[in-house]
C-alpha cells in the first residue's frame, strides 16, 4: 500500500560528500570524512548500495529502487540517510553545486 505521506527526502537528489571515502568491509562499509574526520559504519550492504547509487539517481527513491530495497523499508532508509547527512557523509546535490 503506498504511503499516504511519503518522506519528502525520497524526492530529493543526494550524493556522497566529496570528502568522503567508502571502504568495503564484510559487514557493509566504513565511511570516512576527511574534512571532519568522522568515521561511520554502514552496517548493511544494502545501505552501502543505496549510498553509492545516490549520485546516479535523480532522487533517493530511484537509488532505493535500484538497490532493490523493498518499499516498506524506504522510510527507515530515509531516516538512516538523514543520520548520515548530520555528519555530512552525504549531502543534497544542489548544495554541492552551490558550495
Amino acid at each position: 500500500m503506498p504511503d499516504p505521506m511519503p518522506d519528502p527526502l525520497l524526492s530529493e537528489a543526494w550524493g556522497l560528500s566529496p570528502s568522503v571515502a567508502l571502504r568495503p568491509e564484510p559487514f557493509g562499509a566504513l565511511a570516512y570524512h576527511f574534512g571532519n574526520r568522522k568515521l561511520t559504519f554502514l552496517k548493511r550492504p544494502e545501505l552501502v548500495a543505496v549510498v553509492r547509487g545516490l549520485a546516479e539517481s535523480p532522487d533517493v527513491r530511484g537509488a532505493l529502487r535500484a538497490a532493490g530495497v523493498p518499499e516498506e523499508q524506504w522510510a527507515a532508509y530515509a531516516d538512516a540517510l538523514r543520520g548520515l547527512a548530520v555528519t555530512d557523509m552525504i549531502r543534497p546535490r544542489a548544495a554541492e553545486v552551490a558550495a
Binding site: A21, R23, P24, E25, P26, F27, L30, Y32, F34, G35, R37, L39, F41, K43, R44
Partner: protein, 406 residues
C-alpha cells in the same frame, strides 16, 4: 584470507569487530625507538634507535600500502617520532596520500616554527597532535616522565595555541599519582583550547616494572569511572576503560579488545604486533618487509586469525558483567602473568586482585631499547628503581584493598 570462523550477518558492531576488518581502524605506527626522555612506564621500552629501523623509502612504501588499504589515518608514535630527521617529510607524504596523521609527542621539537607549520594549509587539517602529560603539575608529571618534561609539554601546547593550531590533544596515562588531578587536567586542556585524552596504564614495556606502584588503586578506579560518567563525552579514551563497565554502565569509546581485529601496531623495524601494548613475541604477527607487506600480514597472519575467532570467557564467563567488560585488556593480563581468558588484573569486581595474589609468572620482555646509561633527564622514579630488586612480596598486590565477597 585464512579460514576464519563464519561471520554472522547483522548483529552489533562489536560483534562484527570481533571477526576483524579488512584493514585496521586503529593502527599505531611507531617510527623509532629513539627518545630524548626515559619515562618510567614507557610501553615500548624506548630509548635507543634500532639500527634496523625502516628507511625513508620503506616508510613511504608503508604509507602507499595504507593508502591502498584505505586506512584513513594512522597514530604515529615512538619513541619520540619527531626526532627522526625525516619525520616532517613523512608527515607530509602521508597527508598527501590521504592517510591522516595523529602523532604523539613529548613536545621536544614543537617550537613556534613547527607549530606554525602544523597549523598551516600544508597539513590541511589532516594532522592531529597529542602531547603526552602524565601530571597536571610538574611534580607529578616529572616523577614518571623526567625532570623538565612538564615544561617541555606546556611550552609545546603554548606554541600550538599561539600558532592557531586547533584542538590539540593532551594525552594522559592515568596513574595512582594523578587520578586526583582529573579536574586540573581538564582545566589545562580548556586553557590551551585542547581536548583531554585519558588512557589506561598497561603493564607493557617498562610499564611492567612500575605497574605495581603506579596503577590506580581499586577505589581510584571508582573515582575515574564516576569522573568519566560525568565528563566522558568531551574526553577521549579510545578502548582504555571498558573494563570499568563492570561498575555499571558502559562508557563511551571502543568497548572491546580490538587487538588484531581492528587494532594493531607497526613497530620501527616493520614488525607487526596485535596491539601497541603487546610488544612481545607472543603477539608478533609478522614483519612487513619479510612477509610480503602490511596488507599480507594483516589479512593472512595466523595469530590474527586466532584473535578473530570467538574467544571463550574462561573464569569471566560466569560474571554478570562479561557482556560489557569482556574480561578486560589482553595485554594487561599477559604482562601480569594472568591467563588471557580470565579476569583483568584491574577487574573492578575484585577478581583481578585474587588472581594476582595467586600463582603466576610474569613473562620476560622479548625486547628492550632502553638506554643502558642514565640520561640527564631520567625520571627520579627510575633512579629509585635501581635499588637492589625488592622481593616480589615486598609490595602486596592486595595493599590497600579490602576484599569484599568473592
Amino acid at each position: 584470507m585464512t579460514a576464519v570462523q563464519e561471520r554472522p550477518s547483522g548483529g552489533s558492531l562489536v560483534q562484527q569487530f570481533e571477526y576483524g576488518l579488512d584493514a585496521p581502524i586503529c593502527l599505531t605506527w611507531e617510527l623509532t625507538y629513539a627518545c630524548n626522555l626515559a619515562c618510567a612506564h614507557c610501553l615500548s621500552s624506548s630509548g635507543k634507535r634500532d639500527p634496523r629501523e625502516l628507511s625513508t623509502e620503506q616508510c613511504e612504501a608503508v604509507i602507499d600500502a595504507l593508502q591502498r588499504m584505505q586506512v584513513f589515518y594512522v597514530n604515529i608514535g615512538g619513541g619520540e617520532p619527531t626526532i627522526r630527521p625525516d619525520f616532517w617529510h613523512l608527515l607530509e607524504y602521508a597527508v598527501n596520500h590521504n592517510v591522516g596523521v595523529k602523532f604523539s609527542t613529548n613536545g621536544v621539537r614543537l617550537d613556534p616554527e613547527r607549530a606554525a607549520y602544523l597549523a598551516s594549509p600544508a597539513c590541511g587539517g589532516y594532522v592531529d597532535v597529542q602531547i603526552s602529560l602524565d601530571g597536571a603539575t610538574a611534580e607529578v608529571n616529572d616523577y614518571v616522565r623526567g625532570p623538565g618534561s612538564y615544561d617541555t609539554a606546556l611550552t609545546a601546547l603554548q606554541n600550538l595555541q599561539d600558532a592557531g593550531f586547533q584542538d590539540a590533544k593532551i594525552s594522559v596515562v592515568c596513574t595512582r599519582q594523578n587520578i586526583g588531578q582529573l579536574d586540573e587536567f581538564k582545566a589545562l586542556a580548556d586553557k590551551y583550547g585542547a581536548t583531554l585524552r585519558l588512557t589506561r596504564l598497561r603493564p607493557s614495556g617498562r610499564g611492567a616494572d612500575v605497574w605495581d606502584e603506579l596503577h590506580p588503586l581499586p577505589e581510584q578506579q571508582r573515582v575515574l569511572y564516576d569522573w568519566l560518567m560525568a565528563h566522558g563525552e568531551g574526553v577521549l579514551t579510545g578502548d582504555s576503560f571498558f573494563h570499568l563497565a563492570a561498575f555499571g554502565e558502559s562508557l563511551p569509546g571502543l568497548n572491546l579488545c580490538g587487538a588484531g581485529r581492528v587494532v594493531c601496531l607497526i613497530d620501527p623495524v616493520g614488525d607487526v604486533y596485535a596491539c601497541p601494548f603487546a610488544i612481545h613475541d607472543n603477539f608478533l604477527a609478522g614483519n612487513l618487509l619479510a612477509d610480503g607487506g602490511f596488507q599480507q600480514v594483516w589479512q593472512t597472519s595466523e595469530l590474527f586469525a586466532d584473535l578473530r575467532s570467538p574467544q571463550t570467557g574462561g573464569a569471566c564467563a560466569k560474571c554478570s558483567f562479561y557482556d560489557s567488560c569482556r574480561g578486560g585488556c589482553m595485554a594487561a593480563k599477559f604482562f601480569t602473568g594472568l591467563p588471557l581468558d580470565g579476569p583483568d588484573p584491574e577487574c573492578v569486581q575484585g577478581y583481578g586482585e585474587t588472581a594476582l595474589a595467586g600463582d603466576r609468572t610474569v613473562p620476560a620482555a622479548s625486547q628492550d631499547h632502553s638506554r643502558t646509561t642514565p640520561t640527564r633527564n631520567q625520571p627520579v622514579m627510575l633512579k629509585l628503581m635501581t635499588r637492589p630488586p625488592v622481593s616480589d612480596c615486598a609490595e602486596s598486590p592486595l595493599a590497600g584493598f579490602e576484599p569484599i565477597g568473592g
